[in-house]
Every structure is written in structure tokens, then in C-alpha cells.
């Protein structure tokens, strides 16, 4: 079947713009930057304090990568876990509630193109938010000499991981007319795939490997250390693809019933 990315783009650009006509994008972005700014400040001053202590008493201080960059982007992941539900909850739920989905579904655009468009709109907002944090590493470069590698890979990892949340958010939004329900389920699912990691630590050897593999956070570890491993990328992309595939299933059956 033909897939026309231009159609997806029509939807994506419209929904991306819609974020900025409602207060939601501004609230999410402001909250995000506020928390990130506070964390950045906290990490940097903590790192400075440590570095000074090491200087006083001798010994080797940790690198900026370990002391600032890794916790910074690690925390960013957690914040996205909380924020993504707000970003994705309305995508399909609102269309269903207002029945504007009838316009989409009676236009010459496939369900796949529509779903990818919705996904892209949210991914683009996440990308925008990530772009707004670029000045933190810039500050680090101005005052220090951090490794570029881990910064770049952290961004890539964070973006992919967050896109997994987005994909599941799109899925839950397609299941209901109720935005709040969609958002809550998205958060619960994100938390679940996040916490799987803990369960892995107390499970038996084989099972723990499986759980480890399924954990979204586990696949982020390499990225945070500056390692870009195709296994991790494949995992994230598969997760995203699966979420969108299930969305397709949901919307197809919605068509039969409504």
C-alpha cells in the first residue's frame, strides 16, 4: 500500500499548531523548562561543590559527564514520563469526542497516514522542548570542557525514549473519547515499562533478562554513556511501531462500530 508522508504532514502541522493555540503547550513547556533549569542549577552547583572539596582534600573529581550531564538527561526522561500524557491525551480523544474524526476518516487519507501524522505532531513538540534545552550544554561548553559524545547520544536516547511514551499516548488517546482517561492510562503504561526494571532485579536469571530487555529505561543506559547501540535503537523503534500498529487496530474497529 502506498504511504503518502505529505498527508501525514498535513495532519502533523495542523496539530502542532493547535498545541500553541491552547494553553497546554505553554504550560507544559514552561513547567518543563522550570524544572530542567532548577535541576541544571542544582546539578552544576553540586558538581562544583564536590569539585572544590576534591581540590581541597586531594583526589580526582568526577567528570562533567558523570556529574552533570548524565543526571540532567536522566532526570529529563522522568519529567517526560509525566509530561507526555498531557501532550498526547487530546490527539485522538478530542477528535472522537467532537466527531471531527469523521472529517479525517472521510478524506482520502489512510489510517496509517493519519496516525503517523498525529504521532509526528507530538514528537515535534517533544523535539521543540529538547531544542529549548540546548543552552544548558552550551553553558557547560562556555565554562568547562565536557565531552560532546554523551551529550549528543543523550539527546538521541531521550528523544527516542520519549517517542515511545508518545506512541503509547497516541494509542491510549485512540481508545477513548475522554482525554483524562487517555492521559492517565498513558502515564500508567509509561510507569509500568519504567518499573519493569525493578522487577527484573528480583526475578530469576532468564526472566530478568527478558524484563530487562522490555524496560524502556534499561535501553537508555548506553545512550547516557555516549554509546549508540543499534539494539537499543531497534528496540525503541519497534516499541514506537507497535504502539502505532495497535492504534491502527483500534481506529479500524472504531470505524465498524460508529
Amino acid at each position: 500500500m502506498k504511504f503518502n508522508l505529505k498527508k501525514s504532514w498535513t495532519i502533523a502541522s495542523k496539530d502542532y499548531r493547535t498545541y500553541f493555540t491552547s494553553p497546554i503547550a505553554y504550560i507544559v513547556i514552561a513547567g518543563f523548562l522550570l524544572i530542567m533549569g532548577w535541576m541544571f542549577f542544582f546539578n552544576v552547583s553540586h558538581f562544583n561543590l564536590q569539585a572544590m572539596q576534591y581540590k581541597q582534600f586531594g583526589g580526582k573529581s568526577g567528570s562533567i559527564t558523570d556529574g552533570v550531564i548524565r543526571p540532567l538527561y536522566g532526570n529529563m526522561n522522568v519529567i517526560f514520563l509525566f509530561l507526555v500524557p498531557f501532550i498526547t491525551m487530546r490527539l485522538f480523544a478530542e477528535e472522537r469526542k467532537m466527531q471531527t474524526i469523521q472529517l479525517l476518516m472521510t478524506s482520502p487519507i489512510t489510517l496509517g497516514e493519519m496516525i503517523v501524522g498525529k504521532f509526528l505532531s507530538a514528537a515535534m513538540l517533544v523535539g521543540t522542548m529538547l531544542a529549548l534545552t540546548v543552552f544548558y550544554p552550551v553553558i557547560l561548553f562556555v565554562y568547562g570542557n565536557p565531552d560532546l559524545g554523551p551529550i549528543v547520544s543523550s539527546y538521541l536516547g531521550t528523544f527516542l525514549l520519549t517517542c515511545c511514551y508518545v506512541s503509547s499516548g497516541v494509542f491510549f488517546s485512540s481508545m477513548t473519547e475522554n482525554q483524562i482517561v487517555a492521559g492517565a492510562l498513558t502515564f500508567a503504561a509509561g510507569l509500568f515499562f519504567w518499573l519493569i526494571n525493578w522487577a527484573a532485579q528480583s526475578a530469576g536469571p532468564v526472566f530478568s533478562d527478558v524484563l530487562d530487555y522490555l524496560s524502556l529505561i534499561q535501553h537508555y543506559n548506553n545512550f547516557s554513556q555516549g554509546i549508540i547501540d543499534t539494539t537499543d535503537i531497534v528496540f525503541y523503534l519497534s516499541f514506537i511501531g507497535l504502539g502505532l500498529f495497535f492504534t491502527h487496530r483500534v481506529l479500524d474497529s472504531y470505524r465498524w462500530r460508529s
Partner: protein, 313 residues
Amino acid sequence: MIEVSGLTKIYGQRTAIDHLDFTVNKGEIVGFLGPNGAGKSTTMKILTGFMPASFGTAKVAGYDVFDEAIEVKRNVGYLPENPPVYFDMVVEDYLKFAAKLHDISKAKLKPAVDTALEKTGLTHVRNRIIGNLSKGYRQRVGLAQALVHDPQVLILDEPTVGLDPVQIIEIRQLIKSLGGAHTVILSSHILPEVTATCERIIVINKGKIVAQDNIERLTTRMNQGLTFQMKVKSVSNNGIQAIQAISGVKSVNLHDGALAIEINPSQDDIRDRIVEAAVMEKMGVLEFGADKLSLEEVFLSLTTQETTEGVQS
């Protein structure tokens, strides 16, 4: 332009439409008339390629609605019961979005939107946010959306519901002007609505087509009034007079021991009052029903006074 054969939709246990057969020719304006729950919206959702049928086939503009849904959607403009508008969008942006979804190229985007705005009388509100417009204007935006890609076929589901009388007249004129260039099928549960805009009517009730004919023939049939048969145990003059006294009853005649009660067309449903009168007069009602066709019952359940509808919202 539209060919429907054996079209059936079953929701779980409920059969919403049952083996519909009809055709609509190019350039025709056809009214789909029936009371609430008759299956009008269901039929339209299938014709637009939105929803698959359970059985039967439908072809629109030469394409099968199931197998060639994308082609059908390209050639159909659809106004659902609730206009599918985004309340937070500006009118013009919304129409651009709808046009892009329908493969209108960038170069033709602006003229297409301008034409749709003009046809629907929206040019002066093109920069307004849709959510701030009145219901009538939102309906027009919905209609402009259906028109923006200049489709061969227009499917309009109750296009004037909730509008005030002035807006109703405007929308009707607009729809009438679309005939010829477009093939239009519009649904309504309001009798005067279809007689005012359509050349031909398909009457549907409980998922089945009960009549399809041109306006003149159907209106003559209706204007003859509706006749009901009442079988009673004992005919009394008092009883006949009591029934005759009910406003809306045109005549009461005795026919083979049964009463033929003719009531005025465009009349509220007074069947209950007729039976009540007969019972009060102790005539012993055995049977009471429509004369021959369920069409007459359908007409009774249609809204015949449009003001009641228009004033509501």
C-alpha cells in the same frame, strides 16, 4: 452516480438498515426522508466510505465504497450530522486544512478556499475562530468544508438542523444551487425541507425504503390525506360524531362495517385521540391501523412544522 444494492448494516443485534436498493443520477438532488432512527445517517456513513456495510454493495462516482474507499472519498463531500469543525481553528485555516486533506495542490488552495467561502457566504468571517461563531455559521463552515474540493457528490446529513428560519432558507437556496454541477443527497426528518430542496425523495423507515418517487407524485399522495381503518363492534352515530369533532379529522365514512377515517395531511399525530373517542363512546374498538401503506405512518412521524425545529437552538 450513486448505486446502492442490498445495503445492510447490523450493529450487534440491531439492524440499522435492511437491504436498501436505490440509485441517484448525476446532477440530481435527492432527499433521504425518514423519522429519527430510520437509518439515514448509517446509510450516509457507508456511502462516504467512513463505515463498512455488513452486506450489500454501494458505488459512488463509479467506485466501490469498500474496495476503493480512497477514490470515493476523493469524490465525495460530506457534512455529518454534527459539523466536523475544530473549535479552536480559524475558518480559513480550517478550510485550507480540509482542502489539503483532499489533495488540493498548493497553487489551487487559495482559490478553492475563496470559492467555498463565497458560496457559503462566509467571506466576512474568514478570520474568525470557529468556536466563536454561531451554530448557523458553524454549519456553514461544515458545508464549506464539504464543498472545498469541488466534489462530484455531496452527502449532507440533516444540513439545516438547529438553524433559525432565515438561515434555513439560505442554506436551502445554497443546496438548490448546487444541483446540476454536483450530485446531492441530503437527509432530513422534516417534510417541507425535502419538498423545498429536492427533486426526488427516498422515504426510509425502520431501515427499509418505503417509497421513492418524485416530489409531485409524493405530495399529491400526501395531500389526499391519510386514511385509517377502524373496526368496531357497534357503530353509533354519537361515536362517529365524536371522532369527526376531533380537529384534524377530515371525514369519517362507513365501509363494510368498518370506519374509514381520513385525516388532514400535515397534521400532528392524532391517532390516540381517535381511539380514545371511540372507546369513550363504547363502540368496542377491535382493530385500528393505517389504510394500506406504512408510508402514511411514516409521514405522521415526520416533523411537518419546521418552526418547532428551527427555534430550538
